[in-house]
């Protein structure tokens, strides 16, 4: 394993498989009456969130606590990018407090990278979402969820639909899923695909209907409010019609195919309530799996090498 988890590209096939296998093992813990391991006792994990994201923060917090780590939540919201030294000052503060791992969410792409390479702080840096760059643990939990339902990722067809241009989830998923051998297709209007997407390790299409037959998993991305009036598409209604997943489209998927969404959803926009609440939707399960995957990441980054449950009595 690398000392940090900044990008899904940091993970080799072996690394990724080890994380997913470890997460599998740790997931079994939730079947036990006592859902806590002593593994990271005495270690400190800091959740450093420059952006609000309650769901990601509590997922990391639960993961760290189940491994008995001390958790410090550091909300630096309001420290905008225009006040750049705050990242450095915050890092120096955390270093003085002796953080073993820093889980960082930041609005600026590359902020976790800067933190890891600045020399401001020791310890492992985990990217919990940076700007429009990456969100590696989200991709890991998505892969974990798909692997559970589809047995393997190798050769599986995954369709990712929506605002790829601004999506850190999409970037991390493309990198991780291609490492795991999946066949990924990005679907979006041309305005929401980045320049250079043709050189990514995946396919892309402007046509959702043509991409659905044969898909093993469909991942719908959230449409952010601020894209809606910036000429990326004419109207919410037209977006929904062309790129939203509704019951009719879902019916064109193979029977075994699953529907995913990183949350929070815009029901009625990129996904209808009918789809979101259907049996094919594994959206709630993604949240559950997030804790196991993040436990695995923290455990492996902080030096675990044996079976994660080996330490338990």
């Amino acid at each position: 394993m690398t000392p940090h988890l900044l990008s899904a590209a940091d993970l080799s096939l072996d690394d990724a498989t080890l994380i997913l296998d470890t997460a599998d093992e740790l997931a079994r813990l939730s079947d036990r009456p006592v859902k806590k391991l002593p593994t990271l006792r005495g270690r400190t994990v800091v959740n450093l969130f420059f952006e609000d994201s309650t769901r990601t923060r509590i997922s990391f917090e639960a993961a760290a606590k189940r491994l008995s780590a001390d958790v410090i939540n550091f909300s630096a919201k309001g420290s905008s990018v225009s006040k750049g030294e705050s990242l450095k000052d915050t890092a120096l503060t955390l270093e003085a407090m002796g953080a073993d791992a820093v889980v960082i969410r930041h609005g600026a792409s590359g902020a976790p990278h800067t933190l890891a390479h600045s020399g401001w702080i020791g310890g492992s840096i985990v990217n919990a979402g940076d700007g429009t760059h990456e969100h590696a643990t989200q991709a890991l939990l998505d892969a974990f969820t798909m692997r559970k339902h589809l047995t393997t990722l190798a050769g599986r067809k995954v369709v990712v639909v929506g605002d790829v241009l601004h999506s850190r989830v999409a970037r991390s998923n493309v990198l991780l899923l291609s490492t795991l051998g999946a066949d990924v297709t990005l679907v979006a209007p041309p305005t929401l695909l980045p320049v250079g997407v043709g050189s990514w390790p995946c396919n892309f299409s402007y046509d959702l209907d043509a991409s659905l037959p044969g898909a093993d998993a469909v991942m719908m991305l959230r449409v952010q409010q601020e894209r809606m009036n910036a000429a990326f598409f004419p109207s919410v209604r037209e977006y929904s019609r062309r790129y939203g997943l509704d019951g009719d489209r879902m019916a064109r998927l193979p029977d075994h195919a699953i529907v995913m969404h990183p949350g929070p959803m815009n029901r009625g926009l990129e996904i209808t309530a009918e789809v979101a609440d259907s049996d094919r939707a594994v959206i709630v399960e993604q949240v559950t799996n997030g804790v196991s995957v993040r436990m695995a990441v923290l455990y492996l980054l902080l030096g675990g090498s044996d079976s994660a449950l080996g330490a338990v009595e």
């Binding site: 030294e85 600026a108 940076d130 250079g196």
Partner: protein, 442 residues
């Protein structure tokens, strides 16, 4: 106010022995009273007991270099650079004249501010500092600054630019181009279509897509240059294009020059050497406006400079305090220092590649920039009777760039630890030695 200053103090005689003028055969140069008194065989004969002798054997002699584009940050950001520290950096870099951009605080948009900068340059005396006047009041792009007053001031401003910002309003640009004809001025455009570059952080291309950084498309530069050369042609005015960074820009300039439009252009050393894949490190030292581009653009810029489509190398020396660079990419300021590494970088990109010889470097770094800036006493031949503005360059040994040794007040160089060929070892301003081996002589 007279032009009294250290530069007009009497200077002694200097005999420069065995210099290779523009890379040619070794010759002696006698400097007396601020001019080249003799060049060649009779130079040594003019030396007397008080003549200082400099052994320049193996060194290339070029006219003192002229930079069309630096940011000296004074007034306003003296923590990042001052006219004095920037002049020192210029002198050790081989420059005898620089054009100081107007985006100071207050903006250099009045005769008062340009005269202040001009006087600071005179009193420092290490190189000629020519203030650039703002095109619009406060660089706001709304109303013309008093261009005539700046032209008539003691600073005799001839170059006007809102650099850092683009004069994006077509009517305002047209009027500025027309108006400066009255005093043989030139408008230097920072070509950046503002709407196409909202939130832009780096070159738009495959690297920006992967890094999730806002893309800065080439067309945002090219569309403004295309409009401006057409405007300049229409009103018969002189246009200069700052820091050209794309292949398309070079093509448009080549077309415009072919049509006889009076346009000139500059390229920075960093755009001749560095590419956008360096941004993958998210190291803010590589954050610059215009952004680093791709290798194919670097090749096109080198070719454009070699064939003269691009007239000049200008550093866009942009000092920034440590705080403004020691942070995450999005928060970092744009720009890199360049005065002290320009010769080495140009030698690496253009001379070692065989694209320019030293005579070509002299043309692009002294002769043509002096002509564009209308500086009568700069960029002149190294010949008897000419002002003794001179740089001696050691092109035989390589050196490693050490930011700690720089004289600029800021250290935001992208070349730290990089080995460069060709280092300026002595600079003369009107016969007076201003810099020697990386140190300035007060």
């Amino acid at each position: 106010m007279t032009a009294a200053g250290p530069t007009s103090a009497p200077v002694g005689r200097t005999l420069v022995k065995g210099a290779s003028i523009l890379g040619g055969p070794a010759r002696d140069l006698l400097i007396a009273d601020g001019i080249f008194a003799a060049v060649g065989a009779d130079a040594a004969a003019g030396a007397d007991a008080n003549t200082e002798t400099i052994d320049a054997s193996g060194l290339v002699a070029l006219p003192g270099l002229v930079d069309l584009h630096v940011h000296l940050r004074e007034p306003g950001r003296e923590d990042a650079e001052t006219v004095a520290s920037g002049s020192a950096a210029a002198a050790v870099g081989g420059f005898t004249a620089v054009h100081a951009m107007a985006n100071t605080d207050p903006v250099a948009d009045t005769a008062g501010v340009v005269e202040q900068v001009w006087h600071l340059g005179r009193s420092t005396g290490l190189c000629d500092v020519h203030p650039v006047g703002a095109v619009t009041v406060g660089l706001d792009g709304r109303e013309l600054a008093e261009l005539g007053a700046m032209a008539e001031s003691a600073a005799r401003v001839r170059m006007f630019s809102d650099d850092g910002k683009c004069v994006s309003d077509a009517v305002l640009m047209r009027r500025a181009l027309e108006y400066v004809k009255a005093f043989d001025g030139v408008v230097a455009q920072h070509a950046q279509e503002p709407r196409l570059t909202e939130g832009a952080q780096m070159n738009e291309g495959s690297v920006s897509g992967v890094l999730g950084l806002g893309g800065w498309p080439a067309v945002a530069e090219e569309s403004v240059i295309a409009r401006d050369v057409l405007l300049a042609g229409h009103v018969g005015s002189r246009l200069h294009v700052c820091h050209v960074s794309t292949a398309g820009s070079v093509e448009i300039l080549r077309w415009a020059k072919g049509k006889g439009i009076d346009v000139t252009a500059e390229v920075t050393p960093h755009h001749l050497l560095l590419t956008d894949d360096l941004v993958s490190s998210y190291d803010p030292r590589y954050k610059v406006n215009p952004p680093l581009r791709t290798q194919s653009y670097v090749d096109a810029l080198r070719q454009g400079l070699a064939d003269g489509t691009i007239d000049a190398v200008a550093t866009d020396h942009a000092p920034h305090s440590l705080e403004d660079k020691d942070c995450e990419w999005a928060a970092a300021a744009m720009g890199m220092v360049g005065l002290e590494t320009a010769v080495g970088v140009v030698a690496s990109a253009m001379v070692e590649t065989g694209l320019l010889d030293w005579a070509g470097v002299a043309d692009r770094m002294a002769v043509r920039p002096a002509r564009i800036g209308r500086l009568a006493g700069q960029g002149r031949p190294i010949a008897p009777g000419e002002p003794a503005n001179l740089v001696l360059i050691d092109d035989k040994s390589r050196y490693t760039v050490d930011p700690a040794a720089m004289l600029s007040r800021s250290r935001n160089t992208p070349y730290a630890g990089i080995e460069l060929p060709a280092r300026p070892v002595a600079t003369f301003l009107r016969g007076r030695l201003t810099a020697r081996e990386g140190s300035v002589l007060a």
